[in-house]
């Protein structure tokens, strides 16, 4: 705590007492935490005396400061142009006065009092002596005056000039005692907290005690003076008697004063004796050297200093100890001041005629001294302001890890109650540069007279922090920083508002969906609007500071909400409901139409003699999708049993496997379409006699059905049978024979074949599949196509211009797969467009989607080119495609182009017609059926 250098340390101790009593208190606490800051040496125990910190304090506070005092006195007198003798005398006087006075103060009153009166008294009381060149107001003179007055000497023994200096000395003495008392009292933490009645009581007690003491002293002196007069008159050794009397009085007084607080009469006597001895020694020395003129001054000064130190301190300490014992230190201080001052005043009043003037003068000294801690800061304020300003500028230019802030007077002058303007700015600057230092400083100042600056700085820092949140993420975290402190600040309510808003933003951002985020942040925006309105109306001093912040937050949140909205909009893509390439099942909403075909199938099936049906249509016209959806389209009595002949059935290597796979597909299908659990059939059961067992199983199924129920065995991709037969594992006759038997003898089981081949293409099968009735599946009806384009699913977000829908229908010729292909591309295309245009499709969009549709549906078109037409047919298609949209070519021209003979050309044309790639228009003219397919062949 104290610097290691003794010189600095002694200055620091003085600084503590004058400016930073809390540091003094902390130092005293290191000696003993229970020790009062205004402790006197008389209060100490043995343990205290063993503490090095105490010795350091005493040595520095008394020893070193006495030297400082002497030096200051020399400097001052030199500046005041005093005589050399005067300077020497004053120096020799100041040193013991400061040292002895200080120690006596520490012993009996308080160490703080001792140190401060040692310094102040040492300086102030020595200066008049230096100026006068002799010891003013010495004990001898005082008593002599008293004697003279009492014995009625008619002429005054003192000159006017000396009289003035003597008065000044008295004034300074009273001032010093009052100042010392007030500083001593300021070291106690409760200095400002005593209630008024207690202070008043203390003052009354102090005054009473001091009056008693003054009366006693004056009375005693009068008695003593009378005795001395008798002695003088009798011619007995005046000096000897006088000095002995003085020494004796001092010794006794010290013993008595020491005895009062300690109740140790031995130590009191010892101290009294030692004091008397010391004084006697110096008196002897002074008297011995008196005759040797060159060495006369130092002992004279020393003696005077010691004697006056005793005189002043005893006069203070005697009433102090009494009053302090009766009441408290404050009463002691008052008693001490009035006691010591009262004696001087009493004597002075005896000398002076103008008693009122004198009384006022002395009272002014008391008041000035006692109020030192109040007026000193006022006196220092301009200088402190200048110092602080210089410090601030130095800090501004500084680029270091440390700060000069601790040199600011706010941190070392605890008595300065006047606002140190600029401190708040300084604090903000330091906190921004060194957050830890700044935070600690603000915390320290919030319990000091400069707490306004701490508050202002904190508010400004909060404002700056709030201002620094430039995006919603940081705003959402703001409440975490605002959570601590700021409770009693004038902006608490405002900060709570910001904190709440930050929490709301945090909660808003935590929402998973953008929509909910927007909802939450919209509410935040409204709350910020409310806050802004409140700030506009408010007359609060900080409203102006926080208004732009709220406005900035509002803007940030609004920008985010807008961006979120835009992002949502831009992400708000139209979902693509189209399913390309794979057959639709009953679960897909997108399956439209075909009610005419299903109605026809239903009609045919209701006929008991219903022949096998063939669902014939070109590839990708939706045969399988229709079969998958028959469960939905047909009445519940008809149970569709779907078997994909390109599926596991085709993989069979024997009849058992073939029939087992068919049976599995039938079981699955019955369950799927009608929640019907057909009797199981295991592979093992089929091994021995597969056809018989299968037939028996069909019997079991029929028996399990209701009377009205009919089974519809749908065999998809029936042409795959040919491949199966070609593999050689299965015999055509056996398999087809089984189907013929089924057709002929099981009226409750109907057969529906499906494929892109007519039965005529499998001539030899005709005898087995008797009288096959073909159900043609081709393009969708216009209404169905329109539904697929405009309302493929419920709440489809894309709307079509009627001309655009029409264009799709024209281009695709209502081919279901091609509508899906093209419409899927249109959706993809629209999703790439701006949100404004996204949800409305026009003819241009349809046209723009065509190239992509051709590209992405390449397998569809390539299948036609590669697998569905002959080379000649391909050439004809390409030729026809070149003619343009809707162009027709005559039969002759086409045959001519094919470079084939008439019959062969005819065959090629017929094949293309059969494949539903071209159609006949008018007389002998042909054109492409589907524009989109034409475009592929260009």
């Amino acid at each position: 705590m104290l610097p290691s250098s003794p010189i600095f340390a002694s200055l620091v101790i003085i600084g503590w007492l004058l400016f930073t009593p809390s540091a003094w208190r902390r130092y005293v606490a290191t000696i003993d935490p229970h020790l009062s800051p205004n402790f006197a040496l008389a209060h100490l125990t043995k343990q205290h005396w063993q503490h090095p910190a105490l010795w350091r304090l005493l040595i520095l506070g008394h020893g070193l400061t006495a030297l400082w005092v002497s030096l200051i006195v020399i400097c001052c007198l030199w500046l005041l142009d005093a005589s050399n003798e005067g300077i020497l005398l004053a120096t020799c006087y100041a040193l013991p006065l400061s040292l002895v006075g200080g120690i006596l103060g520490s012993l009996m009153v308080s160490v703080a009092f001792g140190i401060i009166t040692g310094i102040i008294g040492g300086i102030l009381l020595s200066l008049p002596i230096g100026i006068a060149g002799e010891i003013l107001f010495s004990m001898a003179k005082n008593l002599a005056i008293a004697i003279m007055l009492i014995v009625n000497f008619s002429d005054s023994p003192v000159t006017t000039g000396e009289n003035f200096l003597a008065l000044l000395t008295v004034w300074l003495g009273i001032f010093t005692a009052s100042l010392g008392g007030s500083i001593m009292y300021s070291t106690t933490q409760t200095a400002y907290n005593h209630p008024a009645y207690r202070q008043m009581g203390s003052i009354v007690i102090g005054v009473v005690v001091s009056s008693v003491v003054v009366f006693l002293i004056v009375g005693f002196t009068a008695l003593a003076a009378h005795s001395v007069t008798v002695l003088i008159k009798n011619g007995i050794l005046f000096t000897l008697a006088y000095d002995t009397l003085i020494n004796g009085v001092f010794g006794l007084s010290i013993a008595f004063i020491w005895f009062l607080p300690t109740w140790h009469w031995q130590s009191a006597l010892l101290l009294g004796f030692a004091t008397s001895f010391l004084l006697a020694l110096f008196t002897l020395l002074k008297n011995q050297f008196f005759v040797l003129l060159p060495l006369q001054i130092p002992p004279y000064g020393f003696h005077g200093g010691i004697e006056n130190a005793f005189l002043y301190l005893l006069l203070f300490a005697f009433p102090y100890v009494l009053a302090e014992r009766i009441a408290n230190p404050w009463a002691g201080i008052i008693a001490g001041i009035f006691g010591s001052g009262g004696v001087f005043i009493a004597f002075a009043l005896l000398i002076q005629d103008d008693s009122l003037w004198l009384l006022l003068l002395m009272l002014s000294a008391i008041l000035l001294g006692l109020s030192f801690v109040w007026w000193r800061p006022l006196l220092f304020y301009p200088f402190q302001s200048a110092w602080n300003l210089l410090l601030y500028h130095a800090e501004e230019k500084r680029d270091s890890q440390t700060s000069l802030l601790s040199w600011h007077t706010a941190f070392w002058d605890e008595h300065q109650h006047l606002p140190l303007f600029g401190l708040e700015t300084y604090l903000v600057m330091v906190t921004e540069r060194h957050p830890i230092i700044g935070k600690a400083a603000i915390e320290y100042l919030s319990n000091s007279p400069q707490n306004w600056a701490a508050q202002e700085a904190q508010i400004e820092l909060d404002a700056k922090r709030l201002q620094s949140y430039h995006n919603v993420t940081t705003i959402s975290q703001a409440h975490r920083h605002l959570a601590a402190g700021e409770l009693s600040s004038p902006v608490s309510a405002l900060l709570r508002s910001f904190s709440r808003i930050s929490r709301d933003v945090d909660a808003g951002l935590a929402q998973e969906s953008s929509y909910n985020q927007r909802l939450a942040l919209d509410a935040v925006e409204e709350r910020l609007d409310g806050l802004l309105r409140e700030l506009t109306r408010s007359s609060e001093p900080y409203a102006q500071r926080f208004y732009p912040i709220a406005a900035q937050w509002r803007q940030t949140v609004a920008d985010y909400v807008r961006a979120l909205g835009e992002a949502v909009e831009s992400r708000q893509e139209i979902s693509n409901p189209y399913i390309i390439g794979i057959p639709l099942t009953e679960h897909q909403e997108i399956f439209v139409g075909r009610s005419d075909i299903s109605a026809r199938i239903e009609r045919l099936l209701l006929d008991v003699r219903c022949p096998p049906l063939l669902l014939y249509g070109q590839r990708r016209t939706g045969k399988t999708s229709l079969l998958n959806n028959l469960g939905k389209l047909l009445p519940w009595q008809i149970i569709p049993l779907f078997v994909d002949l390109q599926g596991p059935a085709s993989l069979a290597k024997d009849y058992a496997g073939f029939l087992y796979n068919i049976s599995r597909a039938m079981l699955t299908s019955a369950k799927r379409h009608r929640e019907l659990q057909l009797p199981p059939l295991s592979r093992e059961q089929l091994i021995t006699d597969p056809f018989t067992r299968f037939d028996e199983w069909l019997d079991e199924i029929e028996q399990s059905l209701d009377l009205q129920q009919t089974l519809l065995l749908t065999l998809d991709e029936f042409s795959a049978l040919e491949h199966i037969f070609n593999k050689g594992f299965l015999d055509e006759v056996s398999v087809l024979g089984m189907f013929r038997h089924l057709i002929q003898h099981r009226p409750r089981i109907k057969i529906l074949l499906s494929g892109s081949h007519t039965i005529d293409e499998f001539e030899r099968w005709a005898s087995y599949l008797i009288n096959v009735q073909t159900v043609h599946i081709s393009y969708l009806q216009a209404q169905e196509a329109l539904q697929l384009i405009e309302h493929p699913v419920k709440d489809f977000a894309l709307r079509y211009d009627p001309s655009a829908s029409q264009r799709v229908m024209t281009i695709t010729h209502c081919h279901p797969a091609l509508i899906q292909l093209l419409c899927a591309e249109i959706v993809t295309l629209k999703n790439k467009q701006d949100i404004i245009k996204r949800r409305f499709a026009q003819v241009t969009d349809v046209e723009a989607a065509i190239p992509d549709a051709l590209q992405h549906g390449r397998f569809f078109f390539a299948d036609i080119a590669n697998n569905q037409v002959t080379k000649t047919g391909l050439s004809l298609l390409r030729f026809l495609a070149q003619q343009g949209e809707g162009a027709t070519i005559s039969r002759e021209d086409l045959i001519k182009h094919s470079q084939l003979s008439e019959p062969d050309g005819e065959v090629a044309l017929t094949h293309l017609l059969q494949r539903e790639l071209i159609e006949s228009v008018g007389h002998n003219k042909y054109c492409f059926q589907v524009e989109l397919i034409r475009r592929w062949f260009i």
């Binding site: 979902s575 693509n576 399913i579 390309i580 390439g581 794979i582 057959p583 099942t585 679960h587 897909q588 590839r619 990708r620 399988t624 998958n628 779907f642 994909d644 390109q646 599926g647 596991p648 085709s650 993989l651 069979a652 496997g657 796979n661 699955t668 991709e717 795959a720 491949h723 593999k727 292909l821 993809t828 590209q855 992405h856 549906g857 390449r858 397998f859 569809f860 078109f861 390539a862 299948d863 080119a865 590669n866 697998n867």
Partner: protein, 340 residues
């Protein structure tokens, strides 16, 4: 009900797979293993589950930023293809899963794309480049990668076994197509994407016959309730592949989406170039873009050459000569794209 005769499963994996499908707890699983006469081994299991058969190394994070030769398997090293990725994932967002064909020249980045597809969704953001998107699909898809250039994939049995093992499903004995489809029918619940790399090699395999492809088609259209999606890559145009006389026509018919892998876009190219740890000069960037025709494979070669030269402190232009020399075998990419 239960015969005295029963046989214990031979394969520990089978028991574990059963335990998985029965949703058994760890203790129950252990008991099942013991009942099957197999020693329980708590540590072996997680290892088996986490091991991948595919050559993916997680240690390549700090490897060269430019990869020449092998396909890119680390998502953070994959650049571009935003449009194609969007189209693919848009299709796979919904069920039934639709089938996609990716057509591109050799070295156009088809295999890298497949690796990226199957890894990106489950790769955490910290293993990706900043702003690299990985939320195309919600997690929960399973992926099977079939490389037809691997000779084992040319045989039905090993191919189907590979798929079932990848899907963590029971493997029937023998593992034929019918049993395979039965297993898929019964067990497949998680949306599954089967990535068939270099389909032409599969088509050329005699063991993968017409019926096999019919089966695959059937799987893709009727079975598995739309939970299985195929993506194939081919370097041939569809019209060159699908011939009825040739085997797989019906299989190809289920591929309603054909996407072409071309060069990268300009911004994609620039972001690939910008991934170099040592930035390239503008003239170098222009030269690389120009010479590569923005084909990723060529970009990798040129960028690698430039980076190596910079790392070695070479200031001359020899790296260009070297890079062009290394690029020579793939010049067909540039020629073909010019023809297009």
């Amino acid at each position: 009900m239960v015969n005295d005769e029963f046989s214990l499963p031979l394969e520990r994996d089978e028991v574990l797979r059963c335990a998985y499908h029965l949703n058994l707890t760890a203790t129950e699983c252990e008991n099942l293993l013991l009942a099957a006469g197999l020693a329980s081994d708590n540590e072996a299991e997680p290892m088996m589950l986490t091991q991948s058969n595919l050559p993916i190394s997680l240690n390549t994070w700090h490897s060269s930023p430019f990869v020449i030769g092998p396909p890119i398997t680390e998502p953070h090293q994959f650049f571009g293809r935003e449009y194609i990725l969007k189209r693919i994932f848009d299709v796979w967002k919904y069920t039934p899963l639709q089938h996609i064909a990716i057509v591109g020249f050799k070295r156009s980045g088809k295999t890298s794309l497949l690796h990226y597809l199957r890894r990106i969704i489950d790769t955490p953001a910290e293993q990706l480049r900043p702003k690299q998107r990985n939320n195309w699909l919600s997690p929960g898809y399973q992926w099977v990668f079939v490389d037809f250039q691997d000779p084992r994939m040319g045989y039905q049995e090993s191919l189907l076994r590979h798929i079932l093992i990848e899907l963590d499903m029971p493997v029937p004995e023998p593992c034929d197509l019918v049993s395979f489809m039965e297993i898929i029918d019964n067990y497949l619940e998680i949306p599954t994407l089967v990535l068939l790399d270099e389909i032409s090699a599969g088509l050329a395999s005699p063991d993968l016959d017409e019926q096999f492809w019919w089966g695959m088609r059937s799987l893709g259209s009727h079975h598995a309730g739309g939970k299985i999606g195929f993506l194939l890559t081919a370097h041939q145009a569809p019209e060159e592949m699908i011939l009825d006389d040739n085997k797989p026509s019906p299989f190809f018919n289920i591929f309603g989406h054909v996407l072409y892998l071309g060069p990268l876009t300009e911004s994609e190219t620039l972001s690939l170039i910008a991934s170099s740890p040592i930035p390239f000069g503008q003239s170098d960037i222009d030269w690389i873009m120009n010479q590569s025709g923005q084909w990723p494979a060529l970009l990798q070669i040129l960028c690698h050459a430039r980076l190596t030269a910079l790392e070695e402190g070479k200031t001359d232009e020899t790296w260009k000569t070297e890079a062009l020399r290394r690029m020579n075998p793939y010049r067909y990419l540039l020629e073909n794209s010019q023809n297009e």
